[in-house]
Amino acid sequence: MGDAPGTLAASWIVARKDLAIEFRTRTAFLSALVFALLGVTIFYFAWDATAVAAADLAPGVLWVIFTFAGLLGLQRSFGSELADRAIDGLLGAPISREAIYLGKALANLVFVSGILAVTIPAVVLFYNLPFGAGIGALAGIAALAAVGLVAVGTLFSAMAVNTRMAELLLPMLSLPFFVPIVMGAAQSSARLMAGRPIAEAWPWLRILVAFDIVFVTACTLAFPFTLDE
């Protein structure tokens, strides 16, 4: 028998396991994806296209839909652990509690990134966004937003799954925390896609980065307290 895996290696094992399970069924991913695409489409018809240019609407729509689609993905995050007490298998193993959190957050990050990878091009398409250097910046903003969403959402998912009203509780807990993410992402991407200098987007990006650092740390530290020991 070799050495028990360290935190990073263990996180990777947990993440791979979650992704293997998700890939096996794909239902959650496809549902969230279709939800995102539908949402993006519906929003287009909810505005007076003569009053507001589609390109101006796009950032707001993208990031709001992103949070709701993300929530769909987060809902299933801990479901597989409770079914046959599989979580005990993880808790009994010689891996740190933090590794369980990081592994699940990582799997959620892949999930959410997958949704963004389809939704962003869809928004570019439907809202006729200028395809320029701003798109590259969008990928960077997406990464920052996804990390924040997943950090907070994974933690609340761990708590919500143990309660009576998990589907209602997760959005109620998470959405207030998603607001700085949506603001930061929407405001900075709006400016960058309009071709404004990066200095204008910088204050918003700073908020996103600060949010990510603070909440990844806080949620990693808080996770062990959500376990029944």
């Binding site: 708590m159 207030p176 700085p180 909440f215 949620c219």
Partner: protein
């Protein structure tokens, strides 16, 4: 019920003197505010809402919320159930105060500037505090196990404490980059000494109300816990 265990000892309901004094203090402050404090020149009599609005806001954000956050951290560290009850009570009374702020804000705003809501940093932070405390209460309601409920609440309390500064920062940034057509509400109006004194009295009276309600709510939480434990012993224990 027919077991031989001792009857549950419950404190005889006594008059809550502190609460009575607190309410009296608030009443006196309002007499002073309405009858003995000068009317503000620009805003008229409606400005007197400030005495409720500003003090409730201050107490909600800096007393109730801080107490929630601190007792949450202490609970996770010390695991003392009493701290969970303090957090629970601080939150619930804080919710009442926060609701007062959110109700008086629009009343004041509409009367003075003709706009119901100004999206300024402090008011919006209070709105999010309201959302947070509602979520906190819902979370507590959804978890049956006492230990788990306390832990989950504490985690939310701490994360919430980290969130509010971000909300404040984001909204502040939003406002400075999007000049609003409405006059910025004076955060700290330079008040003439008469008004300032009334404000301070109001503050003292409201703190008294908060403490009195907190204490009453804490006592309720303690009694509930005792009842739960007593029932637990009657039904399944040794």
């Amino acid at each position: 019920m027919t077991s031989a265990s001792e009857p549950l000892a419950v404190a005889r309901p006594r008059r809550d003197i502190l609460l009575g004094v607190a309410i009296l203090a608030v009443a006196l402050v309002y007499v002073r505010a309405l009858a003995f404090t000068p009317i503000e020149a620009r805003q008229g009599a409606a400005q007197k809402i400030l005495y409720i609005h500003a003090t409730a806001a201050f107490i909600a954000l800096y007393v109730a919320f801080a107490l929630m956050a601190i007792s949450s951290i202490l609970y996770l560290w010390l695991k003392d159930e009493k701290l969970d009850r303090v957090a629970e009570s601080a939150a619930e009374v804080g919710l009442a105060f926060t609701t007062v702020v959110l109700l008086t804000g629009p009343l004041w705003g509409k009367t003075i500037w003709g706009a119901w809501w100004t999206w300024d940093a402090r008011l919006t932070s209070t709105l999010f505090l309201w959302f947070l405390i509602v979520a906190y209460s819902l979370l507590r309601g959804a978890v049956e196990d006492r230990g788990r409920r306390a832990r989950y609440s504490a985690v939310l309390g701490i994360l919430g404490a980290l969130l509010i500064p971000f909300i404040h920062m984001s909204v502040y940034l939003f406002r400075t980059l999007h000049p609003m057509p409405i006059v910025l509400k004076p955060e700290r109006p330079s008040l003439p000494p008469e008004m300032l004194r009334t404000l301070l009295f109001s503050f003292a009276a409201f703190v008294l109300v908060y403490v009195a309600l907190l204490r009453a709510r804490y006592a309720l939480a303690t009694e509930r816990t005792m009842l739960e434990e007593h029932e637990g012993q009657l039904s399944g224990g040794r």
